[in-house]
């Protein structure tokens, strides 16, 4: 038994030594060339949850300048040499009147403008006539007269400075500007 044990021991030791020797011979592998990986970075944008403001909220949040810039009150256009309200402009004025009735604290300035095909002085008169025509229509639609003032710019502030019918038709207008809210 002892002989068997010692045999195994010897074998074991032999194997042990052998394995140790082999380990020493083993060459260290050359390190592989490592490539730097490009990391894709992308910040995730949280989705904006748009909630439509109610008309009331828009009105309360925005400044007078912003309201005018967005033209909450629509421009009324006129025919050449005329100051009467065109049929196609009646819905525009009525829309403006509804908006004004919804916001009774608002005060407005109606600016009358003309195209360049008129004299300086009569254009001032015509611009005022146009502003007045819009004012009267608003009043007849139930807007309080006290909130409206009118002014004429004649031909001095064209929307489009070109000299053609497309420009002229844009320039013959009355602009409704909020001056107080």
């Amino acid at each position: 038994m002892k002989k068997v044990l010692s045999f195994f021991l010897i074998v074991f030791i032999a194997v042990f030594f052998y394995s140790c020797k082999k380990n020493k011979i083993k060459t260290i592998p050359k390190p592989k060339k490592q490539e730097t990986k490009i990391e894709k970075v992308q910040e995730e944008v949280p989705k904006l949850k748009v909630e439509k403001l109610s008309e009331e909220e828009i009105f309360n949040k925005k400044s007078i300048e912003e309201l005018n810039k967005e033209q909450v009150l629509k421009i009324v256009f006129f025919d050449f040499d005329k100051a009467n309200i065109r049929d196609d402009m009646i819905p525009v004025i009525e829309e403006n009147a509804d908006w004004l009735k919804k916001h009774p604290t608002v005060k407005i300035l109606i600016e009358g403008h003309c195209d360049e095909r008129g004299t300086v002085e009569y254009n001032l008169a015509l611009g005022e006539k146009r502003a007045k025509a819009v004012k009267e229509y608003l009043i007849s639609s139930g807007v309080s007269p006290g909130i409206i003032t009118i002014i004429s710019y004649g031909k001095s502030k064209p929307l489009d400075p070109a000299h053609n019918e497309a420009a002229w038709s844009k320039n013959r207008r009355a602009e409704l500007k909020i001056i107080e809210k």
Partner: protein, 429 residues
């Protein structure tokens, strides 16, 4: 009987002969016009009683401008300079008036230049009636070269006054120019010299009118947010607002400078108002529910020309100053505006738009006739010279709107401005 036949035959032959000859076929270049012929003036070269270079230069400069003024006047015509070589040279101590008469001069202007202290000169003119050999008047001016133009204009105006005319050459024209970016008011001499800026702000300033004494301008400005009327006292630097409610514009002075007329909508509708020269004591002239605008007082201050659209389109009317007796002046066309009353009260200028073209027309009250004074470009805002012989207006005849003057017949057009867009001229009365 036979004798008679022969005579008639001879006359007939003679007539045929004359008919064939140049005497009948030639067109003679004489046009006869109404009015008095220009007074022929001899303006011999100045007599220099100085050897100072600057004095000679100044004297010659004034003399040149003086002659330009007389040439422009339509009152005087200059005897050609070359004619003086046919006669004895001018000796101011002993003038040979027969010589001057022989070269067609009715008036002789003797000019003397003396030196004075500090680059000043004394420029003197002595004006003689050639036929009677008598002195009409004399004037002396002291100044430097930089006031040379003014001296010349004053001397030429003295000529006008002494021949029963209104002074023109020291008058001023105010106008609106965009040359510096914003629409501002400028002033210049009648000949386009001395263009001077009068306002500097970021507002819209339009329709200027200079008072007859040339010391103040009335104009329309948006500085308060709406068009209002202001008087600017040019030499005191004071600006005074003279209008209150509504839209106010287009003030013009009366010829004597006592009144202002303008358009105001303070009653709710565009109406004509008349006020004192400082803007106070304003009175309403028109009471209609239509537009009444563009007023201009007659030289007598009794009537006002205006534009009204009471018939549906803007037309020219004349109304008594108290608002009575309105009568229509223009019947042609669908767009007439900018009436301007001539200083003699006999003519009314206005602008008519026909098929998109703007031209200046003249209405004669006595003959009840209309004449067209401009033909090309867009012509607007006519204003009379103080003597009614010339008209200033804006025209796009060369592209951009510029200020021009022409004579009362619409001829002899002269351009006065070049920089930027120049519009709305008004000539001091």
């Amino acid at each position: 009987m036979k004798k008679h036949m022969i005579i008639i035959f001879l006359i007939f032959i003679c007539l045929i002969f004359f008919w064939q000859s140049k005497l009948f076929s030639q067109r003679v270049g004489i046009t006869i016009e109404k009015g008095v012929a220009a007074i022929s003036v001899a303006t011999p070269k100045p007599i220099f009683k100085t050897k100072k270079d600057i004095a000679i230069k100044t004297g010659n400069y004034i003399y040149g401008v003086f002659k330009d003024d007389l040439r422009f006047s339509l009152v005087f015509s200059l005897v050609p300079e070359g004619f003086t070589s046919y006669i004895r040279p001018l000796n101011p101590k002993q003038i040979f008036f027969k010589d001057w008469e022989s070269i067609g001069a009715k008036i002789l202007v003797v000019t003397e230049v003396n030196e004075d202290t500090d680059d000043n000169i004394i420029y003197s003119i002595t004006v003689y009636d050639v036929k009677t050999s008598k002195m009409i008047f004399g004037k002396k001016y002291r100044g430097k070269i930089k006031s040379g133009r003014l001296i010349a204009h004053k001397a030429a105006d003295e000529m006008m006054i002494n021949f029963g005319e209104k002074p023109v050459f020291s008058s001023k024209i105010v106008f609106v120019s965009s040359r510096d970016g914003n629409k501002e008011i400028y002033m210049m001499d009648y000949d386009g010299n001395n263009q001077t800026r009068l306002t500097k702000n970021r507002y819209i300033d339009i329709l200027p009118a200079i008072s007859p004494d040339k010391k103040k301008i009335a104009y329309t400005s948006y500085r308060s947010g709406k068009p209002d009327l202001y008087i600017q006292y040019l030499y005191e630097g004071i600006l005074k607002k003279i209008s209150t409610g509504g839209v106010n514009y287009g003030a013009k002075w009366s010829c004597d400078g006592k009144y202002l007329v303008y358009t105001s909508s303070k009653s709710g509708n565009a109406e004509i108002y008349i006020a004192d020269s400082n803007g106070s004591n304003s009175q309403k002239v028109t009471f209609s529910r239509w537009v009444d605008s563009s007023p201009d007082l007659s030289p007598s201050n009794n009537e006002i020309a205006l534009t009204s659209d009471r018939t549906g389109s803007p037309q020219i009317y004349v109304i008594n100053r108290d608002g009575t007796n309105i009568r229509r002046i223009t019947f042609e066309g669908t767009y007439n505006d900018s009436p301007a009353w001539s200083p003699d009260g006999e003519n009314l200028l206005f602008v008519s738009r026909i098929e998109g073209r703007f031209d200046i027309y003249k209405y004669n009250f006595r003959a009840q006739t209309y004449s067209k004074l401009t033909n090309r470009g867009r012509n607007e805002n006519p204003s009379w010279s103080p003597d009614g012989r010339h008209i200033v207006f804006s025209s796009t005849i060369n592209g951009t709107p510029q200020i021009y003057i022409m004579d009362y017949k619409g001829t002899r057009r002269i351009r006065l401005t070049y920089k930027g867009k120049n519009t709305m001229p008004y000539w001091s009365k």
